[in-house]
Symmetry: C2
Subunit: 587 residues, 2 copies
């Protein structure tokens, strides 16, 4: 009836579900000792001989262990688009595990189970559960499956919290952490929505202080209201417009006790009613509480302490229209991970789909491929090392010469990662990073096994700590930057030295065009545009740049003046004869 | 306890409230005939002799007639910061009227009144009320006060809807309409929040189908939940962070039955409980319903039909962080009013305060002064015509010459409005408009009595219809624009002819700097910057521009080549001797 991420969920359980009774009691964050604990889980694919191909997938607040179909006859899974044979998380290669979280109502121990000590339903007496408790239970399952180290832990939303918590609590048990639509904590706005949801449930007269399992009535109205509210936060303003504006006054004729004026009204009523059939109000309270209380720290500096010495690969994915976990949250994590000297990847995916984007097909080209590149590179670390000698352009050759012996190198405006790949293939480096704002290009870079960040040089360099790189490369990009001084200062802050190349605007043939013909200068290559459509915005000569460095206290450590078509270094009258300047500077 | 826009509201009524029993029955939009109707209202200041200084202020969903204090002893009004003697809406000059809207519970007829026919409380039997019905009742009050034509109708949020509806329904009874934080309709997301609020009230077991006035219990929980939700939509994500992040885990110890974990939780509980004391659940349903159903049309073309031939002055103000009525809504109105050939002003005010911004002091410098400039200029139309002959710069003089006889002129990048004011003072023009993105500069322009729009030339010109101007002026701005072709096309679309001036980059002294010194050219004036900090991004010669016009099919109607320091026209070898080109082009 309504197509949404939620339509693929069902109260019905798959036949493939398994149950693990934890052999020992679980000691929770709160100190509470849970004597008996069942974990419902499902696995996909085969564990390889050395048990090194395991991936744990963590579900969101209303999810379950059924991440994907096991076969064609099986009921639909909530991430079928991502997980399965030949899919982005390829179960022909990986052994995928997904378990229902503690406190939920989808098979694992939760408030709708009986407390064996009292013989009564847990209800409101079920202990407070934290994200760390969920992760602890998962770690017992992984142990039981005989896996010492996972390839990665992957999750979105509350699942992202679990993945991050895995990195913090069990860094030795996984190689990587993938967080989709996550963050270090909820916004105050996000918490406020949850609070209203919990108030609606608790103030429902049928709540009966959480002991409603044996009553004829449950707090269904409260739970439905909470779910309606949740749904608004999972969608975006844009996606709601797309879904409902065109037939705003034409609600679906559904059977409900809720208002069904407006198309969006009938949608909410439907989602609310449907959720009541499959979810437990007490679980909703417990899990939303766990979400609201998850907090890695007040700011990047505090958070970075938690991330210190984990030595993991992290991948953070945000979606531009997600306002429940806005991109700023993933950027805060990125900054914190930099401060902790962890290896971090981050991409923001442009999307209209809001928080739900990570569950939907619309943007899977990006998030699916980024995940797939990342985990497959982890599986076969050296896959992309070419045996061929790289063929280099002249300026790349010079830059390579300049980075010789550097261990940590960032390429700002890395494009498809060609230069970084050349560096990777020709010299030993400990740490490479590509930064760009073109997601398609970055996908190529990540496919080469190089960590990537989708950032805007004009705004986002503050995310990177001081002197985190030996060398930063800014190849043929300076002339397209508006805030030259600010950005060069930033780059010199994050890197010991900066290698930059730019076209010399006082190159003889360019001067002649203006002087003799009275025309805006133009050549091939980066200067091969018309005055009205060039990406270049700054026109400086080599002398101008040298003056600028003197005046603004940038140290010029090395410089080369190049005639790139002749492939020659120029020394005499270089401001006339060189078409390219290459500098190493620092501050 | 909590400082918010809502703290200034109170159930207590001012002694200055008056009641008008409408002498005739009111025929509502729905056809329902309301036999008896009371309008609660207050007035401020004195009506002048010719009754031409009236301003009607319309309140938002939970407001009342008490817009401001009447004297120091009086209780606080909800817009005291804006309205009063010597304030932005100066009650020493204006006669201000504010009435409680129909269907509310603050004195005017609503569901908490008794239906005299039955002797019972109206409750759920109260007829459906539309914004148009509210405005109809207000018009009766204005008539009763003996006012034929108001200076303006002003309102924010639901008040903005009323102001807009005045323009549509009673264009002859007002000179202007001021809409703050408004739009042509709610977003589907906004409607969704209202629906959840109404569901919470109606599904509260104490709702009793709306007949709870004589019961011991009212649907207080439902109303409180609805109000909590409303509060989130009135604030912004940023303002909630500012308010609550710093002491997130430190809730105020208030007396409430709602959850008070988290500082934001205690805030919501407080706001919910407080609202229950002063507002009627039935009114909340009726008024939020009226908001949800207000719709001026599906798109700008439909809306423009409603705005045709009103001949009013319109002023639309939006706030950047308002997500309940996002700026795009005010822009849609702007576009519609252009299409209808109405005189429209629009500014987006940068603000962190969300929808509530129009009630708060934070941004009142902007919205207060814009309102004040606008209404005071309406009061004394000819105030700013100077008797002095204007002193003009040479290029302004030339531009003035070019616009001679034009009736509709827009200055794109008008700054403080000097050029437009010179035009206004020296020639007869029917219609002037200044566009800029600097709000402080625009405030100066509006202070000169010239209509203004805060728009970004790169993105927003699509809001203006085809050929709505005779002449568009682009003075010394072209060289700072990145998408030259796209924007010139847009400007030629909105205006019959475009007058533009730009610096000639092939001016002799500039050529010499590059050619002889090998330096990025620099002169005084618009070329008086360093290569790394100039606002200019395009460097073209007069010949380049002429070629561009030929190639891209822009017609050059007139051109002048100027040496501006010598104040001379250049004809011979102008691409070398002129430092400035002035063109009239069209397409």
């Amino acid at each position: 009836m309504f197509k949404s991420s939620d339509d693929i969920r069902s109260k019905q359980f798959s036949d493939h579900i398994r149950y693990l009774n934890l052999p020992q009691k679980l000691i929770l964050d709160s100190g509470f000792e849970l004597d008996e604990c069942v974990i419902a889980y499902e696995t996909y694919g085969d564990l390889n001989e050395d048990k090194s191909n395991g991936i744990l997938i963590c579900h969101a607040i209303s999810g379950d262990s059924h991440v994907a179909k096991h076969d064609e006859k099986d009921i639909e899974g909530w991430w079928d688009i991502l997980v399965g044979p030949g899919k982005y998380i390829d179960t022909n290669k990986f052994f995928v595990i997904c378990s229902n979280i503690l406190g939920s109502c989808m098979g694992s121990t939760g408030p709708n189970h009986k407390n064996n000590k009292t013989g009564m339903y847990w209800g409101s007496d079920f202990p407070e559960i934290t994200v760390s408790d969920m992760v602890l239970a998962q770690s017992k399952l992984i142990e039981y499956l005989g896996i010492n180290k996972l390839v990665g832990v992957v999750g979105g939303s509350l699942g992202a919290y679990q993945a991050l918590e895995w990195g913090v609590r069990f860094p030795g048990k996984t190689n990587s952490v993938l967080s989709l639509a996550g963050g270090p904590r909820l916004t105050s706005q996000g918490i406020a929505f949850d609070i209203i949801g919990r108030n609606a449930i608790r103030r429902d007269p049928n709540f009966n202080n959480g002991q409603y399992y044996e009553n004829s009535e449950s707090p269904d109205t409260g739970l439905a209201l909470a779910r309606m509210l949740g749904h608004i936060t999972y969608l975006s303003q844009e996606s709601m417009s797309e879904k409902f504006d065109h037939d705003r006054y034409d609600p679906r004729d559904i059977d409900t006790n809720f208002e069904k004026q407006f198309s969006v009204g009938s949608y909410l009523a439907y989602q609310g009613d449907k959720f009541v059939e499959r979810f437990d109000p007490n679980s909703y309270i417990i899990l939303s509480n766990a979400m609201d209380k998850f907090d890695l720290g007040k700011n990047s500096y505090e958070i970075s302490k938690k991330f210190k010495d984990k030595n993991l690969n992290w991948f953070l994915i945000s979606f531009s229209s997600d306002w429940l976990f806005p991109t700023s949250m993933s950027k805060e994590l990125t900054k914190s991970l930099f401060l902790a000297n962890e290896e971090v990847n981050f991409v923001e995916i442009p999307s209209n789909c809001g928080h739900d984007a990570f569950l939907l097909e619309d943007d899977i080209h990006y998030y699916g491929n980024y995940i797939s590149n990342f985990i497959e590179n982890l599986l076969e670390q050296n896959k992309s090392v070419s045996t061929e000698e790289p063929k280099l352009s002249f300026d790349h050759e010079l830059i390579l010469d300049f980075v010789l012996g550097s261990k940590k190198i960032v390429d700002l405006g890395c494009g498809d990662g060609k230069l970084l790949n050349d560096i990777k293939n020709s010299r030993y480096t400990e740490n490479l990073l590509g930064i760009d704002n073109d997601l398609n290009e970055l996908l190529e870079t990540s496919n080469k096994g190089i960590p990537i960040l989708s950032l805007d040089l004009n705004k986002d360099l503050h995310l990177i700590g001081d002197k985190q790189f030996d060398k930063a490369i800014l190849s043929l990009t300076l002339q397209a930057i508006i805030n030259v001084e600010k950005i060069l200062n930033e780059i010199c802050r994050i890197s010991e030295e900066v290698i930059l190349s730019f076209p010399n605007f006082a190159f003889g043939p360019l001067r002649d065009m203006l002087s003799n013909q009275g025309r805006a200068p133009k050549l091939e290559g980066v200067l091969g545009y018309e005055w009205y459509n060039t990406p270049n915005k700054r026109y400086m000569s080599i002398l101008d740049f040298e003056d600028f460095c003197n005046e603004k206290n940038f140290n010029i450590i090395k410089s080369r003046y190049v005639n790139s078509s002749l492939k020659q270094f120029i020394t005499k009258d270089y401001n006339y004869h060189a078409d390219l300047g290459i500098f190493i500077i620092s501050k």
